[in-house]
Symmetry: C2
Subunit: 382 residues, 2 copies
């Protein structure tokens, strides 16, 4: 049959899949919930099968609960959190639009990088990594720049800071500006009210407090965001993430094919969201707060400090100051090799200065805190 000889040089004999039982206490991925992993192994149905369309409706409803929104356009994007971030920017920005970004960590920078690729005029306000913006600062910047969009990071995965958002949505309406919020490390673990806080657009990831493997990413657009997208003069400069086309698949009605949905990732996300609905948001948020407090108290007992002040600390992600004279990377390696625990180092400005510890969703449990503190203590004493 083939007109050419088959080259066997890359035909390696790879062994059966197996990996160490890591406890993933870094900034994400967190460990997937066992029920989520089970769901992902369910046999497939087609992406236009009536059974899959029914599952899509359920996923959308459960996402609305987790996000506390009635937004009709609430969907999972077929990629990781960064794809959902880009989907937000690619659809909301028309060339020449001004976007104001709050930069107090790595992901604010990423927002600017993406926004520029879609032809936005970008301006920013900044704060040292680990701090947050006050309402006053934001008001002044809106007054000065009069942007079409304000982008803020609710939970900065690079710093562990929790940006207060109450009042910002109202402010944005006053200045006729859309509020876009990164909720990658808050959704499902940190109090968050899309509708009550008047957030116009938000995105998240699956592999943080939702405990679903990476590869699918929630996105929600409110009425004002949908209106801006519907009035676009140009095609969205990104086909895969073009929500004007995807709305026809997820938005009911025609269910037109756009791209093949990642069926099994949707199975997994649905199970993760079911777990949130079963537990209840208030209970879940409180559990995260309690587990984090336990960890922070334990750090103090070890003589370790946190990078972020208590009132703006995320329960889902803590940045721990690396003590002087300690090689942070070596500690991480030792924790991984000896205890199968993954924590991460700092990114960007905080590189070498902090460890990042995530206690997210299913992983936010007292026994994980006990184990990590004990392993950390032994490692630092070595």
């Amino acid at each position: 049959m083939p007109h050419f000889d088959i080259n066997d040089s890359h035909r390696i004999n790879a062994s059966q899949l197996d990996v160490a039982p890591r406890l993933l206490l870094g900034p994400g991925p967190s460990n997937a919930h066992p029920r989520t992993l089970q769901a992902m192994a369910m046999r497939q149905v087609g992406h236009l099968d009536p059974q899959f369309l029914a599952l899509m409706d359920e996923i959308q409803e459960l996402l609305r609960y987790a996000w506390q929104t009635d937004n009709r356009f609430t969907i999972p994007v077929s990629g990781t959190g960064s794809a959902a971030m880009e989907a937000s920017l690619a659809n909301l920005i028309e060339p020449g639009d001004k976007i104001l970004v709050g930069v107090n960590g790595y992901f604010g920078h990423r927002m600017i990088d993406m926004a520029e690729r879609y032809g936005a005029e970008t301006v920013h306000i900044s704060r040292p990594w680990g701090e947050v913006f006050t309402e006053k600062e934001i008001r002044e910047a809106l007054e000065t720049h009069r942007p079409a969009i304000l982008g803020l990071v609710h939970a900065e995965t690079s710093t562990g800071a929790n940006q207060p958002l109450e009042g910002i949505g109202a402010l944005c309406r006053e200045y006729d500006c859309l509020l876009l919020v990164d909720t990658v490390t808050s959704l499902g673990g940190v109090p968050l009210f899309i509708d009550a806080w008047q957030i116009d657009a938000a995105y998240s990831g699956s592999q943080k407090c939702l405990n679903c493997p990476p590869g699918i990413a929630p996105l929600t657009f409110g009425e004002r965001a949908v209106e801006k997208i519907s009035n676009r003069k140009n095609k969205v400069a990104n086909w895969y993430l073009d929500m004007t086309m995807l709305m026809k698949y997820w938005g009911g009605g025609t269910r037109s094919y756009h791209h093949t949905a990642p069926i099994n990732m949707n199975y997994g996300l649905r199970e993760s969201l079911r777990l949130i609905a079963e537990e209840g948001l208030a209970e879940r948020w409180e559990r995260h707060a309690k587990t984090a407090q336990l960890f922070w108290d334990g750090l103090k007992d070890l003589g370790l400090g946190c990078h972020v002040v208590p009132e703006h600390r995320l329960p889902s992600l803590t940045t721990v100051r690396i003590p002087a004279g300690v090689d942070g990377k070596k500690v991480q390696q030792h924790l991984l090799q000896k205890y199968n625990i993954e924590i991460a180092g700092g990114l960007g400005e905080l590189g070498g200065q902090v460890w990042r510890v995530g206690l997210m969703g299913y992983n936010s449990r007292p026994e994980n805190v006990t184990l990590l503190l004990s392993a950390l203590e032994k490692t630092l004493k070595k």
Copy 2:
């Protein structure tokens, strides 16, 4: 804790995940191989864990085998096949580049739509859906248009046509043009030689002949493609799919973080590729050819015809002419409801005229042909 009341209106009580045991004989997704589904449920490790980095190397090697290429830049894209198509175009096209696309089905049109979003000047040659281009036609078009890129679809999922590619790569070198090929429905099921055929860039999907669920998509760039990307004057107008950044994660060396890789989708893809290496490409291609021939012979016995002439028919996907007076959609619905078999109707120009039947990878088995033919016969006799 929360300053707002929690809204329970979307807190639905979704049942435990379960779906009917569908036999997916449409244009994709095909049924995932049971070993692939098992692999996807494996516990996670982090995307920078040494164990994951080792798995990445294996995936790249196994992809090189499946594609018959030594291309160093051979990776899985973190999205579905459409994302890999867009990654190819977004990275290869600089604004103003001319791209010549062969349009003989739905996916040629999609290539043009995407290319335009990245500022390409698009020209095309066309053929009725189901036909293929001759080398002579392609040479004439290259002579006339002198494009920077020629885009062809090897296996048109919308028509079932198999575009001959031998000689086209050499032709493109003669005209100093890159050859980009859509191999979504051929990789792992239809003879395909990236290096021997001098294909500069190709992409595929996971949910066709690889039998991995959708959500991860192979991509390979040869030296000439990598050179064009490396010499870009502008940033790639798509952050998530920017291969100049992703090369640092997949390309060895620094392994810099770009976005969180979809860990479990990579587990699944690795298992699917292991199955190909175990079986052997020649054996696999022959199995696809034999199963398809069995199906085509059976169709003839039922008095049904194929849309594509035998010499250009894909073994992985067959377009069956719907007999006059038969409601194609009703037949599909009956097959799904009564026999749990999914086949699809025609797309675009072939809407209402054909059924699309996929016999892909794990699904390419004689018993599936027997079942489908028998179910089809009973359904048509009703």
